[in-house]
Symmetry: C2
Subunit: 300 residues, 2 copies
């Protein structure tokens, strides 16, 4: 960590602490007045309370078909599969995630500046925004692995230097998310607290953490307490549904032993005023394809 | 395999074959007329069609409390934990299963001859019955592991020498089985086909297979086809609910990352006329605590 980093005030200390703790959030969930966008006040209030929204049918079957065709092409491309942006399943050969899919001019890339998403994000963050991270998550049938509980913000803060909780994730469902094929699980209201995690980020942690996370993993007691304060929710839906969630919502998903693959496109929008600085708890920033340091405001 | 075993007609060949296949069931699901018991005709027909029944509230909170107290005692007992009957989680220290819990005179043992279960089993199997296998399954919170798809009958036939499909399993839910804490998944109608699996059972396979099964695992194509012919169902319920299912239903369960442990008592009743013979595809029978060879008909 650089000497200057140590001088910054940090309401969200993590990986610099000896024991886990639950700290109160010190940022708004909805920035500004939360008006001037497509969400009606009840939806904004629900997002503020629970930390997420599930919006069915935001994208049409035609758009999804185009995106699906892009992904089939990308997943079969050996150059793509061997690129740093690709993450392969821990026990297998299958593509698990592909990062930085928002730069292309194909259908998946166009999602990153689709007005349906961006107008919602503007409404919630009250600022210009840019894509902090984008990826495709492919949870194959039969052998799709679980993602354990985590707050994205914990990692983005520690490893990428995201200062405050002013980012929103959008997950566009490409396949049906049933209760039984490893859907996204969220803990309602968990975004109101920050789970500070012990441990120290090693050099190049991201090379292993994208396959299996060992750091920034919330402890059992904190999870139990978050579930007691809120409750566990499954984000279900048909293709075209979008799950909008706050950067600090505790979430995860079980493995998938059904034949039904669970695929989605994941776009994270960060406020321009919340651009990345020095990592708060890592030797050096992660690569651009995981955490954009170049701020390119989205024009809509 | 003994020379005589090779002469037996076997409608359910498995682990002696080169490639997987889906074979039709050659046994009734409901034996006899399916009358003279507590299940009304609609429930019997539903069991026959789908292969299972979920019966809420069959056991009272008081009974469950007694059973729970027995299990807390057993799980904490070092002698029990180090006995062959105990199976510990693959990556941990926690008790995953405990076999042969039906012989004691405690509350869990009494479930094995509880008239509420036995009268249902008599109605479905039309024969005297005995306990083929009993166990407690403890799926802990946070780190409970998945059980991949399997037909119990495939193993009981290959490794224990159970001749025909004339056995019924009863799973008594001790904790809430939510959609999100790794509930039992069944494939409706899958009991109508036998998935023949390639491979050969090695010596003492059970020592590893109870922790992680590598043999008798259905292939992807057969699973896809079973799901196409039927559908995936989650068996949910509150404590006291009982899931009654045919020995050949394809079932499994996802891991459990929630704080809510998922515990149940599992009792398998086999028809006396279907008692075990030589294993159909294993060097020698498994131990008595996994597969009873001594037939003690249950008197009610």
């Amino acid at each position: 960590m650089s000497p200057t980093a140590a001088l910054r005030y940090d309401p969200y200390p993590t990986r610099t602490v000896d024991r886990p703790s639950l700290l109160p959030r010190e940022d708004p969930v909805v920035w500004g007045r939360g008006t001037g966008g497509p969400l009606d006040p009840e939806l904004v209030a629900s997002y503020e309370d629970n930390g997420y929204l599930v919006i069915p049918g935001l994208f049409s079957p035609a758009t999804l078909e185009e995106v699906g065709a892009d992904l089939t092409r990308l997943a079969a491309d050996d150059e793509v599969r061997s690129s740093p942006q690709a993450v392969i399943e821990p026990d297998g050969e299958e593509l698990r995630s592909l990062f930085q899919v928002h730069l292309g001019d194909d259908a998946v890339g166009r999602l990153a500046h689709d007005p349906r998403l961006v107008s919602i994000v503007h409404q919630l963050l009250d600022d210009e925004v840019y894509v902090h991270q984008s990826r495709v998550n492919l949870k194959p049938g039969f052998r799709g692995k679980e993602f354990y509980w985590h707050s994205d913000f914990e990692t983005w803060h520690a490893e990428d230097g995201m200062p405050r909780m002013r980012a929103v994730s959008c997950s566009v469902l490409l396949t049906p998310n049933h209760a039984y094929n490893g859907p996204l699980l969220t803990i309602d209201r968990s975004h109101q607290w920050f789970v500070s995690c012990p441990g120290e980020t090693p050099e190049d942690n991201y090379r292993t953490s994208l396959r299996r996370q060992d750091l920034g993993v919330p402890d059992d007691d904190s999870l139990r307490e978050l579930v007691r304060r809120g409750r566990i929710n499954q984000c279900l839906g048909q293709p075209g549904t979008v799950v909008i969630f706050d950067c600090n919502v505790m979430h995860g998903s079980s493995g998938n032993l059904t034949p039904f693959e669970r695929n989605n496109v994941f776009m994270v929008f960060n406020a321009v005023s919340n651009a990345l600085g020095e990592p708060f708890a890592a030797p050096r920033p992660r690569p651009e394809f995981i955490a954009a340091r170049e701020v390119r405001p989205i024009l809509v």
